[in-house]
């Protein structure tokens, strides 16, 4: 696919309600390559742009299982196989004594996967992103709300989309250069 001449178009809104409404309308209009930006999480907005499910919980489950199973097997291998110490014939695989470390490793695995999984799914760290080329975008981390439709959307048309965004009653619409 040819690279479009601009990254997309961005509309600025005043309130979370306006952003949620605009995001919904854009999705209903058939736009799929779009994103919304807000200074705090808004459940309605991510649903409106069709991003209802996060894969983070699955990643965390995998991390927890790996940590827990790995933690137990490590202790089993060390205490029963690699370096068994016979203390008056007591069992080598003394599982009750291994629970604490297994538990801690479960939490550690799940937490590491939660954080790094979240960052990976969000494609962070990302040193450069075109949306920052819009000067007003600095307010997205303060008190403004933005909706951006990417130029690589199949329905994207420079004039049509701009007209559509202008019809959503935004503060302004601006072009996002690459």
């Amino acid at each position: 696919m040819k690279r479009p001449p601009i990254f997309g178009l961005m509309a600025e809104f005043d309130s979370p309600t306006e952003l949620a409404l605009a995001a919904r309308k854009a999705y209903e209009e058939g736009y799929r390559r779009l994103d919304a930006y807000s200074p705090f999480p808004i459940e309605e907005v991510s649903e409106a742009i069709g991003f209802g499910h996060s894969r983070v919980p699955l990643v965390v489950l995998v991390g927890g299982l790996l940590g827990g199973i790995g933690g137990y097997l490590m202790q089993y291998w060390i205490s029963a196989l690699n370096y068994p110490i016979n203390v008056a014939g007591r069992p080598l695989n003394s599982w009750p004594a291994f629970i604490v470390v297994t538990f801690e490793m479960t939490i550690l695995g799940a937490a590491l996967f939660a954080v790094f999984g979240m960052l990976a799914l969000n494609r962070l760290p990302m040193p450069y992103h075109p949306v920052f080329n819009v000067e007003r975008f600095a307010f997205a981390s303060k008190d403004r709300f933005f909706l951006c439709i990417y130029a690589d959307d199949r329905k994207f048309d420079r004039a049509q989309t701009e007209k559509f965004l202008a019809g959503l009653n935004p503060k302004n619409v601006s072009e996002v250069p690459h």
Partner: protein, 461 residues
């Protein structure tokens, strides 16, 4: 605009969690200005300076320890644990309130936590750092601390996984790692805010580097919220487990005064008790000197005081059960331990701890006391002292009268014990000062969600 975002003030008459009249912009400006544009005050420089000097004292004490060995401390047989373990347990307990506030209160949907969780988490991190130093220095050869971890080595030996001391290594290091991750994840959106607000090139670059390109996209937020909630869910059992494992260090042994099943719950309650005392000791000056009374309101102080009261009563119950079990067990060594604790050479410390932890905090039943900032500050200091004394009594009185009379001894801390202890207090203070100067001490994005204008109106749902 509604009087109170939680909608509770009109009905209950309680003060709101954030004063009315704030908007997204003013909340952002107020908190970020402390970091970005406010002049560094004389008070900050003096406070930081004191912390810095004490940190240098700590370095001195540790250097001397590395040169001479643990003999410079008051420890000996029979009291081989001494200050190092007392301070370890005390510091790590203080950390617990931060995790309780950030994780458990988040899961319980207590929005008032949003203005105190950030610095409480920072407090946790610094307290765990202080705590971690003690057992390491107490090792005797601290530079070999990594022997505690299971790594393949040329000696072909492994840690003993049936020992509570190895459990403790895993518990504390996991606790520190998870607390650090939780705290940093909470900071990412606010670092983005600081990046966009900062004027100096260096600040923009530094905050921008740490924010990692955060842009507040709806997809980001969705994954972020999911990860944040799950981390809270993971940190909740963790916070309960850490002090439980610390108490196993004692309870798994057969020393009279340590070998008891009440230890895990009573240690956890005591940890939260001292932790909230430290939260108040930090929050009260911060809200005064940085004018944050609108965000850290009387309601926060009142709630923290109530949690202190409850956990303090659980601790009192723990003392009671310790006494009851001694009587119920009817063992000579246990009887002697309790008699020695109540009337032996360290008895004044025991009665001081009863006063500090049980008697004095009962004034918190009074609403007037809970509304008085000065009284809360004083009580918190008293509780911190009391909880330190508790650990001293547990560690020292149980050890100094050994099973055989010929092995009895006394424990007196040396000047190096004291310098190390006050050194960690200084390190903790210095780190807190640096934190409030360079990072937003209140979570900005979570404060925005508390505002009435953050509600999405029904038409957009």
């Amino acid at each position: 605009m509604a009087e109170d975002p939680t909608g509770q003030a009109p009905r209950t008459g309680r003060p709101p969690v954030i004063a009315p009249g704030y908007t997204f912009a003013t909340v952002t400006d107020k908190i970020s200005a402390i970091v970005l544009s406010r002049r560094t005050s004389m008070g900050w420089i003096v406070g930081f300076g004191v912390g810095f000097i004490l940190t240098m004292v700590l370095l001195l004490a540790v250097s001397y320890l590395l040169v001479k060995g643990v003999g410079i401390w008051g420890i000996d047989i029979p009291v081989a644990w001494g200050f190092a373990i007392v301070n370890f347990v005390w510091w790590i307990g203080i950390g617990h309130a931060g995790t309780l506030i950030s994780a458990i209160l988040l899961l319980l949907n207590q929005p008032w936590r949003n203005s105190i969780n950030r610095f409480a988490e920072a407090m946790t991190l610094f307290a765990v750092m202080c705590a971690g130093m003690f057992p390491l220095l107490h090792l005797g050869r601290p530079w070999l601390f990594y022997w505690l971890f299971p790594y393949p080595n040329t000696m072909q030996v492994w840690p003993q996984f049936r020992s509570p001391l190895v459990w403790d290594v895993f518990a504390v290091s996991t606790y520190f790692t998870v607390s650090l991750l939780f705290w940093f994840v909470g900071l990412i959106p606010d670092l983005g805010t600081l990046r966009d607000r900062a004027h100096s090139r260096f600040a923009r670059a530094a905050y921008g580097f740490l924010a990692m390109g955060w842009r507040g996209s709806a997809r980001h937020w969705k994954n972020y919220e999911s990860a944040y909630l799950l981390l809270a869910g993971l940190a909740t059992p963790l916070v309960v487990s850490v002090h439980t494992v610390v108490s196993f260090d004692f309870a798994i042994s057969i020393v009279p005064g340590w070998h008891t099943t009440i230890f895990p719950p009573y240690f956890v309650a005591g940890a939260i008790y001292s932790g909230f005392a430290m939260v108040l000791v930090i929050a009260i000056p911060i809200r005064k000197y940085y004018g944050l009374g609108d965000m850290i309101t009387m309601r926060h102080l009142d709630n923290s005081a109530k949690i202190m009261l409850v956990t303090g009563l659980i601790v009192a119950y723990g003392y009671l059960i310790e006494g009851f079990m001694t009587w119920y067990k009817s063992e000579d060594f246990d009887f002697f331990m309790m008699k020695n604790r109540l009337m032996g050479p360290y008895a004044p410390l025991y009665w001081a701890l009863i006063f500090c932890n049980i008697l004095a905090p009962q004034v918190l039943w009074s609403r007037r006391v809970r509304q008085s900032v000065g009284a809360l500050f004083t009580i918190s200091i008293v509780v911190l002292i009391g909880m330190w004394l508790e650990r001293f009594v547990i560690v020292i009185t149980s050890l100094h009268r050994d099973f055989l009379t010929s092995s009895w001894g006394m424990y007196y801390p040396t000047r190096w014990d004291w310098l190390t202890f006050w050194g960690t207090v200084g390190f903790f203070g210095m780190s807190m000062y640096l934190f409030i100067r360079f990072l937003p001490m209140i979570s900005i994005f979570e404060m925005r969600t508390l505002l009435p204008e953050a509600e999405v109106e029904a038409e957009a749902k």
